[in-house]
Amino acid sequence: MKKIIAVMLVAVLLAPCAFAQDKPGTAAAKEFWVFKDKGARENHFVPSGWMGDYGDVKLNDQSTDNPYSGTTCIQFVYTAKRTQGQGWAGISWQNPANNWGSKKGGFDLTGMSKLTFWARGAKGGEVLKFKVGGIGITPKATYPDSTEAEIGPVELTDTWKQYAINVVGKDLSYISGGFAWVATADQNLEGATFYLDDIKFEVDPALKPEGRKQEAMPFYVYADRSSMNNHFIPSGWMGDYGDVKIDQASKEDPYLGDTCLRIIYSGKATQGARWAGMYWQNPPNNWGNVDKGFDLSKAQKLTFWARGAKGGERIEEFKVGGLMGEFSDSDTAGVGPVILTTEWQQYTIDLKGKDMSYIIGGFCWSMNIDVNPDGATFYLDEIKYE
């Protein structure tokens, strides 16, 4: 911890200097370093923003274990032990240190085209997301970043590989969160050890703005617990949320793969609503306030497999889309009510003729106490757009 504080102090001292010296928007500035090497005067941000299960993360910012360039690189060890009970962890490079948008410290990076970095896993197969900006946007802070961009989930290899986050066309006028990574316990069951080096913004005149791409099919909501193909998170708890438990890694007779989803609805009306439901969202807890919809225009249907623990469980509706907000889902479709059997059955939501060009709420179910007076336990698997 002392090391981190030391790093932060150095960065804080250096940052104003760097801010004053660099004018990234000018023709002269071709690159702008986030992190080059420990102690390098070109470093503009500090890895001070520890998020989620911060107790699961160890940082060595002068690892000499095969750096990509120079004498050191940064090693991270993520144990996936869920020390803070979050199921995920991440670290943001900030300026100044520990700035979540309450202090002025963003750089004007106008003119930069991409952020590049080098990464490798200790074993290969480590799954992470990488991000630029995004500090203080939601909820809105005093000094929020002017934009955000991300790539991932990315599966690392055991050899150095360069990755890039395209920021062409983005408003880079104020960036205090230069870079971040996020890992989830579900996608890294055994944890992850990985290395980063040479993180910087670059100018690339040939790079074009990244449009919202139409996702290829099949496009999974849920494949298996640790699958990097899972694109939505079951974060949208509704109604009597206290009545619902979800196990995303149930091994009770999954339909396919190692795991399935087990959902227990107690029907106790804990919040007094007498119904409950859950949305799979991107990113988590996005109720239409974050512009992160997927373009699923190629989808003709959503299929999923479901079964009940006893049979006779009644789900009022399974649906896709339908979230309304500043960034609303472009459409909605559903099936229901559905009476489950003890055998796995495949259900289909017809998407033909639907506008699936922007989907935040990838999947949803809802049920109530009136037709499930004793609650219900049911299983879901292989939820995917096709």
Partner: protein, 773 residues
């Protein structure tokens, strides 16, 4: 709206009939904990009575005792709750909490009367701060939040009086709906886009084969077309203007029809319920064809969809949609359509449980009709039909023809019940304050004539004065002119004025349906309020039987008697346990009916039930009851499947013992209120008429109905001297609320010339036109 009932509960105050409801057995539980102490609810019952008598000392003795004994337990119950209990049994389970909160409430009201505003404020604030989840039962049929009403009382203290307007929480910009995508077909040809499977069975479903085609045919907002509305430029505009912010239920009565449509079309309610309300909004906007599509989509895709009424009973959207379709097509013959063979039955649908429902659906089909030819269609010649059943030997009886149709016969002629509830309460009087006098005896102007019946006049120019050209005519005359042929009177707790009823019949041709409460509110049973009338208790049964038979002996030879009526919504419970043991209740009703007929074979016997609750138990238990009657407030489209359900479950003739609508329309003028009320009544009567004997397409068993009510009663909302506009409960009324003090087909003007002045509302003339044909 239990008019006759409310008059006799003179001891209870605010929300006039407010009582804490104590289930059977719970009183015992309370006594067990405090062996020598009275139950909390018992203390409250007595405290209300003392407050009604303005016995301040006794009021405070009882409420203090309740608080001293039970405040600790009440706080524990409050702490154990995470939200306002929703279902009746949940509310009852925190009875002590409810009682203690009401004890503070009574104290607050008493302080108010005494002008001790600081003390009153403190009592109400205590409820809000400490007992926020307490609820109390209003005998008119609902629970009320003690904390919420306390807030209103605080408002009264702050402002001098209470006049609660509904808050306008959502956009109030008046708009109309212009559809961006009305769909390619006015009437969707569902067979083209999918397949109807297992029609008329509990396995019915419509399987969509061509979703794109169906969406294109249906158009914006109609299932499965969820796309067009999102592409509608006006939708994006409304979003940008933030006109879609707010709860979708608040949009139901917003003049911003466009926003309401968008809100519901993109809402998150279950699809069937959502479609029904989309239909309502489209109907209100005058887009009848699109509204029909929405309603029919409910029938096709979601026939078993259900929601919940304000009173926590299930409401079936599919059945309501069918009723709406029939209502719309009936009202708009220019559409030239008729829906035939459509039917949705909900087996086990007559209780509070939806988990046991079995939905049997047939979406039917639309056929083209020629209105003129329909009218010319010959009706069966009754003279050629044989009589299948006849009940009664005297001048009044019901009979069923071989076709299954029923008629009520009086003096050898068919008689349709065109009745009104008559209770001309003087402004300023209230049963809650013990100030209500007997209208059957009142003679405030001391001219030797009873006021309402004989001394009322019509304030034609609505200047709240009796001008030279506004002669005294009396209500009886006005009722006769309207076409009224009967009224309903209970013989408890005040003995009716026989001479008055004789005159009503002799000189005005208006007969009387004579009723006995049969243990409701413990009337006639001799039971204590808690646990209330027990229909298995021999003593209670004997008392009730004596009461009924006494009534029959007293009036059976009177020429004004139309028929006997047993009960008043007893199936809802409340100081009687018919709701807990409906089989015992109905078995007793039948026993009473049988005994009545032993004494009086000349008049039929009817029951006054609560909508169709436990109708499935009425049929098998009540073979000797001749007529099924029920209070029902369903909307301007009438009573939907009510008639058919009575026919199918009991094969009896039926009539509506109470129906009505307020003439107040929040946010709109007097004219809109009257129009809304008249429209509701017209739709209701048309539905009754269309289900009378020999009407093509109807159930053939409707005998008529009793309009609720003749004259506005000002004591029902809050202040008996003020014409309160408060919406007491949410329901299918023009502005979405029941305004209890505005139910009359006659108004009392500014109240100064009550009980004499009458301002005849549009609904009066609607009936005059219908009933005097």
């Amino acid at each position: 709206m239990k008019c006759r009932t409310v008059q006799l509960i003179s001891a209870f105050v605010f929300c006039q009939l407010a009582m804490v409801f104590l289930p059977a057995g719970q009183a015992g539980a309370g006594l067990y904990a405090q062996e020598a102490s009275p139950a909390a609810a018992e203390l409250i019952e007595k405290a209300w009575a003392a407050h009604g008598k303005r016995d301040i000392e006794e009021t405070f003795r009882l409420t203090r005792q309740c608080i001293d004994l039970y405040a600790g337990e009440a706080r524990r119950q409050q702490a154990g709750l995470k939200g306002m209990p929703q279902k009746a049994d949940e509310i009852k389970s925190v009875e002590v909490l409810n009682s203690v909160a009401v004890a503070f409430f009574i104290q607050g009201e008493s302080y108010l009367r005494q002008g001790k505003l600081d003390e009153a404020r403190q009592a109400f604030q205590t409820i809000i701060d400490t007992y926020g989840y307490a609820q109390a039962w209003d005998q008119r049929g609902w629970f009320w939040s003690v904390a919420e009403v306390s807030r209103q009382s605080l408002q009264k203290i702050a402002g001098g009086s209470i006049d609660i307007e509904q808050k306008r929480k959502v956009s109030q910009l008046p708009t109309r709906i212009v559809l961006y995508d009305p769909g390619k077909e006015d009437l969707v040809d569902y067979a083209k886009y999918g397949e109807f499977k297992d029609v008329g069975t509990d396995r019915y479903r419509y399987v969509i084969k061509d979703q794109e085609g169906l969406s294109a045919a249906a158009g914006e907002g109609i299932y499965p077309n969820t796309t067009s509305v999102r592409w509608d430029p006006e939708f994006k505009k409304a979003q940008k203007e933030k006109r879609l912010e707010g709860d979708q239920w608040d949009f139901m009565h917003s003049p911003d029809l466009q926003a309401a449509f968008f809100k519901w079309a993109t809402g998150s309610e279950p699809a069937g319920v959502r479609l029904f309300y989309i239909g309502l909004i489209l109907e209100k906007a005058g887009l009848l064809k699109h509204a029909l599509k929405a309603y029919y989509a409910v029938v096709v895709h979601y026939p078993g969809a259900y929601g919940w009424t304000y009173f926590k009973s299930p409401w079936y959207a599919g059945q309501a949609a069918l009723a709406k379709i029939n209502h719309l097509l009936r009202r708009n013959p220019q559409l030239g359509l008729k829906l035939v063979d459509a039917d949705i039955k909900i087996e086990n649908g007559f209780d509070y449980i939806v988990a046991n429902d079995i939905v049997i659906a047939n979406p039917g089909r639309f056929v083209k009709v020629n209105g003129l030819l329909e009218k010319l269609k010959p009706r069966p010649n009754k003279d050629l039909l044989s009589i299948k059943k006849r009940s009664g030997k005297g001048r009044v009886y019901v009979q069923q023809y071989e076709t299954g149709d029923w008629e009520l016969i009086v003096d050898g002629k068919p008689f349709s019940v065109r009745a009104v509830t008559y209770a001309p309460t003087r402004v300023g009087q209230s049963p809650d304050e013990g100030t209500m006098t007997n209208w059957m005896e009142d003679d405030f102007n001391r001219n030797g004539k009873i006021d309402g019946p004989y001394d009322a006049f019509v304030d034609k120019n609505k200047n709240n004065a009796q001008d030279a050209d506004e002669p005294t005519v009396g209500d009886f005359s006005l009722m006769r002119d309207m076409g009224v042929n009967s009224v309903r009177i209970y013989h408890q707790p005040r003995k009716p004025n026989k001479e008055l009823l004789r005159d009503l019949y002799k000189n005005y041709g208006i007969m009387t349906i004579v009723g006995d409460f049969l243990g409701k509110y413990t009337l006639g049973s001799g039971a204590a309020w808690n646990p209330g009338t027990d229909y298995r208790n021999q003593e209670h049964k004997k008392n009730m039987m004596d009461s009924v038979l006494g009534m029959v002996r007293e009036y059976k030879d009177e020429p004004f008697v139309l028929f006997w009526l047993l009960g008043n919504e007893n199936v809802y419970g409340y100081a009687c346990n018919a709701d807990k043991d409906p089989d015992a209740f109905f078995a007793f009703v039948n026993e009473v009916a049988r005994r009545i007929k032993e004494i009086d074979p000349d008049h039929p016997v009817g029951i006054c039930s609560g909508d169709v609750l436990y109708l499935d138990k009425f049929g098998p238990n009540c073979p000797d009851v001749d007529i099924f009657g029920a209070n029902a407030y369903r909307g301007n489209y009438g009573f939907g499947s009510f008639w058919r359900q009575v026919r199918d479950e009991a094969d009896k003739p039926a009539f509506i013992t109470e129906y009505g609508c307020s003439a107040y329309f929040e946010g709109k003028g007097e004219e809109a209120g009257e129009e809304g009320q008249a429209d509701y009544h017209q739709g209701s009567w048309e539905d009754i008429k269309n289900n009378m004997a020999f009407v093509d397409g109807g159930a053939g068993n409707a005998l008529g109905g009793i309009v609720f009510e003749w004259l506005d009663e000002w004591w029902k909302g809050y202040e008996p001297s003020i014409h309160d506009k408060k919406g007491t409960w949410v329901g299918p009324f023009p502005d979405g609320y029941m305004h209890e003090e505005w139910l009359g087909v006659c108004a009392q003007g500014d109240g100064r010339l009550s009980p004499f002045l009458r301002q005849l509302r549009t609904a009066y003339y609607t009936y005059k036109q219908e009933w005097k044909k």
